[in-house]
Amino acid sequence: MSRRAIAYLMLLAAGLAAPFFIYPVLVMKVLCFALFACAFNLLLGYTGLLSFGHAAFFGAAAYVAGHAIKVWGLPTELGLLAGTIAAGALGWAVGSLAIRRTGIYFAMVTLALAQMIYFFFLEASFTGGEDGLQGVPRGALLGFIDLSNDLNLYYFVLAIFVFAFWLIYRTIHSPFGQILKAIRENEPRAISLGYDVAKYKLLAFVLSAALAGLAGATKMLVFKFATLTDAHWHLSGEVVLMTILGGMGTVFGPLVGSSVIVVLQNELADKVGSLVTVIMGSIFVICVLLFRRGIVGEIIAFYKRMLGQKA
Amino acid sequence: MMQAVEYLRIRDLHAFYGESHILHGMDLVVNSGECVSLLGRNGAGRTTTLRAILGLTGSRTGSIMVNGHETITMATHRIAQLGIGYCPEERGIYASLSCEENLLMPPQLSSGGMSLDEIYQMFPNLYERRQSQGTRLSGGEQQMLAMARILRSGARLLLLDEVSEGLAPVIVQKLGEIIRHLKEKGFTIVLVEQNFRFAAPLADRMYIVEHGRIAEEISQGEIGAKKELLQEYLGV
């Protein structure tokens, strides 16, 4: 077995054992944000597109899934699916407009469209405004596994995460992923080779949006509510930070980055009082100045240097 | 004849891009009013030498004397202010400035630069396209602009990197005349060239660069005699 496979298996084992050592709801939250960041990284790290409105997909899926389960009484699985599809569809709409632009303008178009979506959620009655869509039942998986039990839910969430993570990994390392890389590297050249660049970008955008939606819907299920913070641009910014902090364009970076941020948010909550923003801010400053490649990126670079010296 | 005055003296110059070591102890001298050509294969380090003179590479060590000043520790703009004009390989035309603004951009370093009229006379193409955005010019027009731009500033030492590249033969021919003319006016010129036939008649001396150091020095008079050497190093 290859070293890499062993590493993946060990991670999986850690994931399976985690709820017995760490508070499971916290781990679930980490997994949801990690999935969100991984989905985002698919776009930023591998396609070179910086979306500044990804929270819109996260939030939209949370609302749709919540509404579907709570009001329409859909089974949990279908509710999540509905949320994911809704996010993907929204991603398609936003994406088809946004991919006509590049760079900072792309980021701004996504931000603008996301703000409009946010405005819709603010005004729409089914979202409950700032009070949120609350009290969504977790339901039962396949009709008989009770998800209100945290441990049952945990393994369900873990399964979702592993599936999505695999899908992202697969996408990156697929023929499609190769083309994405080529587009990121030199777009005119990719066009001149006969690739319809817009279509590739759009598919990447939709995939990323749908997976971000899956993350949002799952988070909704864990906490049983969806609120406006889920669709706010602050969250769009946060996911950028998670990705960069962990290391963009690395497979594990977003996982690490989101864990750090979620755990910090949780841990600092009752320790530093009003200094929490100062501490978070300092972390970003330090990260940009000293660990530019992100945590995972720096580790990889260090590892490569070590290898280089030995060779 | 007057005793030749050293205008540029490079001793044991090492230069790096990040971790890659590109120049391995360059030594060369250019006298005032002289035209010296650096020849060599692709990637030999000629461009890097020019960039190192201006402090545009990564770190560098050794000694670079420009007109009697040691510049190895100076900031780029201070070096340039000693009277150096640089025409880069990639041309470096400013997209945000018009063709004419591009021409006017380099600040006056000393008196004795050419006037705008003189320059337009030399390069009529540029006059025609003077209102055009800099990077909208054709490849060759940009090349001319890059060359023309440094003639205004009053720089006495010109570092020219592949100036004949991408130009029509007529223009190349004219460029040769211009360089000859500049030499007459007393400019000191370092000419980095791929095009041996272009450089050979212009250069008073030639250095052949190989793996980041000087492999050979050939004076104008020796070209005929050292045909074989040139063949070996350059394939001409």
Partner: protein
């Protein structure tokens, strides 16, 4: 025979805010030829290329490829028809390896580029073909190098290999030898000659050695319009061309 021409343009015009960069160019490129486009700087050669590949929209005029009107098609579509270009400023995928660069091009013919659920190891069957192509341009010893690290001349060679991978009917090369040393120029020249056997090549070139050495037909552009056309020997004697482009000195004429 009319359809002996693979590419025809019909009074092609491109204006930039009143400035006419290409005016009334009717170009005919014969199948199987190496056709050179030369002319003084700013004559409109690169612009012509941009029009042919639709990186720019023509102001007026038509473009026909194999007898079909392609004036209104998108750049990627034109590439899929078999017209592939190289760029005046080097264009590789800098952070992919040399092998991957070529594979990106090969992959298109394979189909399935949208299959994000499939493993990229399915691409390894393209490796042999890619290495073959790289060997043709003398890059077979650089297969695993990242493209940025290649010296300039090799990058141009890689670009040609990538273009060849698409097996284009018509190759457009914009100054393929610019910035190359003599040895490289010779090699690229031989390479172009070699690959031209099964296809048509339209190239822009200032290096007269290359132009005179391998081109079957030459079109001279000046100020956006066609100044002269014909084989090298004929064009080179044309006094208009000598004045506008070639110059008189022996040095410039054969550098």
């Amino acid at each position: 025979m009319a359809d002996d021409y693979i590419l025809e343009t019909d009074a092609l015009v491109k204006e930039f805010k009143g400035f006419v960069a290409v005016s009334d160019v009717s170009l005919k490129v014969r199948r199987g030829h190496i056709h050179a486009l030369i002319g003084p700087n700013g004559a409109g050669k690169t612009t012509c290329f941009n029009l042919l590949t639709k990186f720019l929209e023509p102001t007026r005029g038509r473009i026909r490829f194999n007898g079909e009107d392609i004036t209104l098609e998108a750049p990627a579509q034109i590439a899929r028809r078999g017209i592939v270009r190289s760029f005046q400023i080097s264009a590789v995928f800098p952070h992919l390896t040399v092998l991957e660069n070529v594979r990106i091009a090969l992959q298109r013919k394979l189909g399935g580029s949208f299959y994000f659920w499939r493993s990229d190891s399915t691409l390894s069957r393209l490796d042999d073909r890619a290495i073959e192509l790289l060997a043709e341009v003398g890059l077979d010893s650089y297969v695993d190098m990242v493209a940025v690290e290649l010296p300039y001349g090799r990058k141009r060679a890689l670009e040609i290999a990538t273009t060849l991978a698409l097996d284009p009917e018509l190759m457009l090369l914009d100054e393929p030898t610019q910035g190359m040393g003599h040895e490289d120029v010779d090699r690229v020249m031989q390479l172009i000659k070699k690959v031209s056997t099964r296809r048509t090549i339209l190239m822009v070139e200032h290096n007269m050695k290359v132009v005179s050495g391998i081109s079957d037909m030459i079109t001279v552009l000046a100020r956006g319009a066609v100044l002269a056309e014909g084989p090298y020997a004929e064009v080179a004697k044309n006094p208009l061309v000598i004045e506008a482009y070639m110059g008189t000195s022996e040095e410039a004429a054969q550098a």
